[in-house]
Symmetry: C2
Subunit: 353 residues, 2 copies
């Protein structure tokens, strides 16, 4: 099989270009993946010179400037069409590589993808999926669950939520290797009649899909409990919930630091617990885990956390390569086409009967 | 000033009737509040006989049966119009008391209130407000913040969200004694243009109210950080977010129990940290704090947690009495009437100009 080729935004993220270039160097030496580093050639060359790498596996695609985390995404993309993220998206559109990874601004990533990369036919809304760790559950030894959408959309039609379920199904089964991943619809009650028109209709649509292991509505407390492998929700709901979880983790860490200073006994206790607390941190800091896939496009796009180290970026690159190689986007496309075809038949049957 | 008179659902909650009756007995001996215990007279009498109480301050209002936590609220209310909650709501409507407290089913409480208690003129949607603890913030030494709605509605009109802000403002300033409580609109971004039509319009309305200390949109991570005193949101969003927080607290406690069994070092560490962990539990278990007010009605209604002890119920009774005495509902009514009058003037001015 041909080597996978991944576009990496060399200017995106808090530690760019150092960590992206390091990630590219490490990947070039330890895997069969080819990297296209997108950014300012001089800067990239200077950084590459400092780390051992396999030059034949790294291509540099020139770009000018970057889109900052604090810039308004829409304006920034218009003003800087040659920024690394924009150049990378157009290269992905043109088939220059199999997938894309960026640790830059999430808003800009979502908008740039919408502007340049074709969506899968039938899909009108893309979804950003957060991968988060959960307690081990049942037969599934992978402790990761997927929530989508967490911010690419605001509100959705019922059909969009169904397609999110197919995206989650494809990603969880191919990347996390979960057989028949369980899927829950995030709602304010477990009964199918809860949550207003859109969620009631989405529940009905999901129940009608034999290929999906839809287990019904789930509630907020089911998320940290890890009740299902894939959580489907509108972007507004998913974004607020995810950021709430981040904030809670942050609060616990602050309390830990505060407790450390309070008493000698607590200090001693915390030291004894250090390895346990580290494990706990891993369980609550979703940013430790590779990237968040932006799904609904014809090629895999991975958003790595802004704080990403070379190691985290390396993980995201491997995941992106795996998603491309295993045909995650093709599987989503097939499921959507199949649904639309069945809908068409229903309409035809209704018309003929 | 006349003694406040509070209806207490003697059959509601996990520990009914024992804890409600105990709470009534304790309140009758230690405060100036009169209690109306609503439930089966024989059962209440048998329980009351076992605890010291001030008989003159306790009235028993007969009711038959209760609505279980696992019953479908709508059907249960129809089938059992003489259940303690239903009798209590009708007594509140009839002016038999100043406020109502129940630890029973939340869904049934919201529906029974809607069925029997008049709403404040102009208000179409009531709101259930969760009181939750936060890190100490600024001048505000009260560590409690308020989020509403957390489940009485699904979706709202912009105007409903504005009225939620007035409800939160009245409750936080009169009960929590926060001067000019800061108010945030829960959203997926801080910009006023975020979150779709309803939230954009709600943001605009809120910004126009000089009486409110509206600070703009807040995001999910701002909730545990305690950025504002009052968080305004639709019920679907508030419910999922609140239950997520509950679930996260539960996860931490489970991890603590698990860690305790893992190694002698961790066990020792946890023992040394015990008092710190208790404090942490208090900070994450919002159920420790009195009740959740159901706002928008002409009289205060408090939902105490299902697990409430006599002490927690006692706190809820005191809060309900305070809300009644301090005219929380009247203040909300004045704010709504004032807004509607200004709207009317705008319309008249537009028509005349």
């Amino acid at each position: 099989m041909a080597a996978m080729r991944i576009l990496l935004d060399a200017q995106g993220g808090d530690h760019a270009p150092v960590e992206p270039v390091r990630a590219a160097a490490e990947i070039s030496r330890t895997t069969e993946i080819d990297i296209v580093l997108v950014g300012e050639p001089d800067v990239i060359a200077a950084q590459l010179a400092q780390v051992p790498h396999e030059a034949a596996r790294i291509e540099v695609l020139p770009a000018q400037g970057t889109i900052g985390m604090d810039e308004k995404p829409r304006e920034a993309i218009e003003r800087k069409p040659d920024a690394s993220l924009c150049v990378a998206m157009r290269a992905l559109r043109d088939g220059h590589a199999d997938a894309l990874v960026s640790a830059g601004s999430t808003g800009a990533l979502v908008l740039a993808a919408a502007q340049w990369v074709p969506r899968i036919p039938g899909i009108e809304r893309s979804a950003l999926a957060a991968v988060y760790p959960t307690p081990q559950r049942g037969k599934n030894r992978d402790r990761f669950a997927l929530m989508l959408d967490v911010g690419a959309t605001v509100h959705c039609r019922p059909k969009d939520l169904l397609f999110f379920a197919y995206m989650g199904h494809a990603y969880a089964s191919r990347i996390s290797k979960v057989e028949r991943p369980s899927i829950g619809l995030l709602n304010m009650g477990s009964e199918p009649t809860k949550g207003g028109e859109t969620l009631v209709e989405a529940h009905r649509l999901l129940q009608g899909e034999a290929q999906l292991n839809f287990t019904g509505n789930i509630e907020g407390n089911d998320i940290p409990a890890g009740k299902v492998d894939v959580i489907v929700c509108e972007g507004l709901l998913g974004n607020v919930t995810l950021k709430m979880a981040e904030g809670t983790g942050e609060l616990f860490r602050n309390l830990g630091r505060w407790a450390f200073k309070q008493s000698l006994l607590w200090k001693l206790g915390l030291l004894l617990l250090a390895s346990g607390l580290r494990r706990l941190k891993q369980l609550t800091d979703y940013s430790e885990y590779g990237g968040a896939p932006l799904l609904g496009f014809t090629r895999p796009i991975l958003k790595a956390h802004g704080r990403s180290s070379a190691r985290a970026l390396g993980n995201a690159i491997k995941v992106a390569a795996k998603a491309a190689r295993d045909g995650v986007c093709d599987e989503i496309a097939r499921a959507v086409a199949d649904f639309e075809a069945r809908q068409g038949q229903d309409v035809a049957a209704a018309g003929g009967g």
